[in-house]
């Protein structure tokens, strides 16, 4: 079978789930006849009709709120944020309404909010963000952020079938740059399970999304120097696969956490605390972080590349860890 891109894998998941379950429907801005800003939903309206592929006003609050209402009634809405940066408009609806619905009112909220995320694309401050940490802090939401085409499809299908609200962050740099041959049959990747992207024995890198690929590049470079790096791709951020993190720490005794999101209050800090509470005796070196600087993401290539984590940064951090 032919390889398909990360973007096509997401589209395939949407097609398969809409065909499988008539309760699944899509809403978003310009997603219908136009097929979406990145063409993720191209062809959906022609296949499933306007009733199930809804072009909405520019209203992120209404999209998320309406999805919740429809989900209460047994439907399974999939909402597109045209760029994930705009999810901030719906922060209240997601955190106050959706995330609390089951707990405070026993209301099911099976819905997906998905959208193109991340930088390295010269998108500037409002088309490059990684707002996942803001939602990780909210009990009641699930978060996935795939790095491969295979996982993009499998996690999207899992998200649509999940009985809770799942935020699916899709990395727009990876949309057309990574490809896979899809596994046969009904390919669903369980939410909450990390993946070993590369086995190693000297240093562990825990990461997700775009920086999985940078970590793999760094691991390759370190291998040439005789240092064996293990790379863990979290895939799901909430729930997080703590066991996979602890397992790799106990194996290599050195941990580097890498993410594209900014540093302060980021996910790396949370992982560090969990490792500290659980695996302190297993560590031979302090847990280190490579992240973006605490800066709104700038536009010019020289500026963006300087703010975002690069392969050379990861190599430098791995060397520092091995020096202990």
């Amino acid at each position: 079978m032919a390889e398909i891109t990360y973007l096509e894998a997401i589209r395939e998941a949407l097609f398969e789930e809409m065909a499988r379950d008539k309760n699944v429907f899509c809403m978003g801005q310009d997603i219908g006849a136009f097929g979406g800003a990145f063409k993720v939903t191209e062809g959906l309206m022609a296949t499933f009709g306007e009733a199930r592929v809804i072009d909405s006003p520019i209203s992120e609050i209404a999209l998320v709120g309406a999805a919740a209402g429809a989900a209460h009634m047994g439907l399974r809405p999939v909402v597109e944020m045209q760029f994930i940066d705009f999810i901030a408009n719906a922060y209240d609806m997601l955190t106050n309404y959706v995330a609390t619905a089951r707990y405070r009112a026993f209301l099911p909220c099976p819905m997906v909010v998905r959208g193109p995320s991340g930088g390295y694309v010269r998108g500037g401050p409002f088309h490059s963000q990684n707002p996942e940490a803001g939602f990780l802090h909210t009990p009641g939401l699930k978060i996935v952020y795939p790095s491969t085409a295979t996982d993009a499809k499998g996690l999207m299908k899992a998200a649509i079938r999940d009985d809770d609200c799942v935020l699916v962050f899709e990395h727009k740099y990876l949309y057309r740059r990574v490809k896979d041959v899809m596994p046969d049959g009904d390919h669903v990747v369980p939410i909450g399970k990390a993946r070993v992207a590369r086995e190693g024995s000297d240093v562990s890198i825990v990461t997700y999304a775009s920086t999985v690929w940078k970590a793999l590049e760094a691991a390759e470079q370190m291998a040439a120097e005789g240092i064996s790096v293990e790379v863990i791709d979290l895939r799901s951020l909430a729930p997080m696969d703590d066991e996979a993190i602890f397992r790799t720490v106990k194996k290599t005794n050195r941990l580097l956490i890498v993410h594209e999101d900014t540093r302060t209050g980021g996910i790396a800090g949370e992982i560090t605390a969990r490792v500290n509470e659980t695996c302190f005796e297993w560590l031979d070196a302090p847990v280190l972080r490579v992240t973006a600087a605490d800066i709104p993401l700038p536009y010019a290539p020289a500026l963006e590349d300087y703010v975002l984590p690069q392969t050379a940064d990861i190599v430098r951090a791995v060397r520092r860890l091995t020096a202990y």
């Binding site: 909405s56 006003p57 709120g65 309406a66 609806m93 707990y103 009112a105």
Partner: protein
């Protein structure tokens, strides 16, 4: 006072036949019962509040009983209604019981939300005929409008003959959620009625600081939806205006905005001393425009309802509230460990944090916040 906005596309005027003309004598008396039950139940809650049996705040709808009851009475059992904090009356009409309300306020373990949410923040929605069709509200105002857009979108997508009704106050019309929700519903022609209860105040903020619009119903024009305005203290006018909007929705014509003009005679909550209200304003409304007094006069004059009949209604309400109070007071508090259940469908439960693993769960709920700050900075008790 009933006034159709320029966006009105037709419908009944006060001179023509009114939908309420079709109500039977028993139904008209039932409207009185719901209004009276609302007020008496809140009076009981005031007593319980003063006995510190209500755990949190107490929110009254004194003087607004007609708009909540009359509007919700225009719905069918299969329809779904989303109330706000002044809509106890609407919830009772839709099937919420005094017992549920009392248990909620007293944070009982067998309350509808098992002690997780406050006051009338609870609901029962889903399949028609199985659920009573009212949705639990949240505190951020305006948010229920987009949610009801989605609920009514589901009716449209499934071809169900059901209508949604969402209440907002004058204050909530200033939120982005209100705007986005009603606009999206309008574009999608969802079968949704948006009731704006204009009660003069949002907490302490008077309406003229909330909007420069002359009437809230005028906003209907901007959204391209039917606008209807009515005297919210006239229960039949409230029913008529809402019924028109409900029929508009049921006929497939989409959204309407119904402004009901009323007055909030109590503060935002029981603690609020209403220092911001001009002298005499509350007394004026109480004396001249109490919705229950007004409707009692109508029932006497037009349906010859007797003193005995009114006394029987009051006796029934008294009995129902007394019985519900007795049961609610006997109910227990929630088991502390239940706090960790049901954030997600899966996993169904969170694990206790490590410093709670062997804790005595019975101890929780006993700490008194009043003791905070009674220690000196050097650790000695003052």
């Amino acid at each position: 006072m009933a006034r159709a906005s320029r966006a009105t596309t037709g419908g009944a005027t006060p001179q023509q036949t009114r939908p309420s003309d079709a109500l039977t004598r028993a139904q008209k008396i039932e409207l009185f019962y719901w209004m009276r039950l609302t007020r008496q139940l809140e009076e009981r809650l005031v007593n319980l509040y003063r006995q510190t049996k209500v755990v949190g705040g107490l929110f009254r709808s004194l003087g607004q009983e007609a708009d909540a009851v009359g509007s919700c009475f225009a719905l069918e059992q299969r329809d779904v209604m989303s109330p706000l904090i002044r809509n106890l009356g609407a919830m009772l009409v839709k099937g919420a019981t005094p017992l549920e309300v009392l248990k909620q306020y007293m944070a009982k373990g067998d309350s509808p939300t098992r002690g997780r949410e406050l006051n009338i923040h609870f609901g029962d929605i889903g399949e028609a005929g199985v659920t009573r069709g009212f949705l639990g509200q949240i505190s951020p105002l305006g948010d229920m409008v987009p949610v009801m857009t989605g609920v009514t979108m589901s009716f449209k997508m499934r071809g169900e003959d059901r209508v949604g009704l969402v209440y907002v106050g004058d204050g909530a019309t200033s939120t982005g959620a209100f705007h986005e929700g009603i606009n999206f519903a309008a574009v999608q022609k969802c079968p949704l009625v948006v009731i704006v209860e204009n009660n003069g105040y949002a907490y302490s903020t008077p309406t003229h600081k909330q909007t420069a619009a002359k009437h809230f119903v005028d906003k209907a024009i901007g959204y391209g939806v039917l606008g209807v305005q009515a005297d919210g203290n006239d229960v039949l006018a409230t029913y008529d205006a809402t019924r028109q909007a409900v029929e508009h929705a049921r006929a497939g014509h989409g959204v309407s905005l119904v402004e009901l003009i009323t007055y909030r005679r109590k503060g935002h909550a029981e603690h609020d001393n209403q220092s911001y209200v001009p002298d005499g304003e509350i007394a004026r409304w109480a004396a001249a425009n109490d919705p229950i007094d007004r409707y009692r006069a109508v029932l006497r004059a037009e349906l010859a309802v007797s003193d005995d009949e009114f006394a029987a209604i009051d006796a029934r309400i008294q009995r129902e509230i007394d019985e519900a109070t007795d049961i609610a007071e006997r109910s227990g508090t929630p088991d502390a460990r239940e706090a960790l259940l049901g954030v997600y469908a899966a996993p169904p439960s969170e694990q206790p944090l490590w410093f709670r693993r062997d804790a005595d769960t019975d101890a929780y709920g006993q700490e008194r916040p009043e003791s905070w700050g009674t220690w000196n900075a050097d650790g000695g008790k003052r």
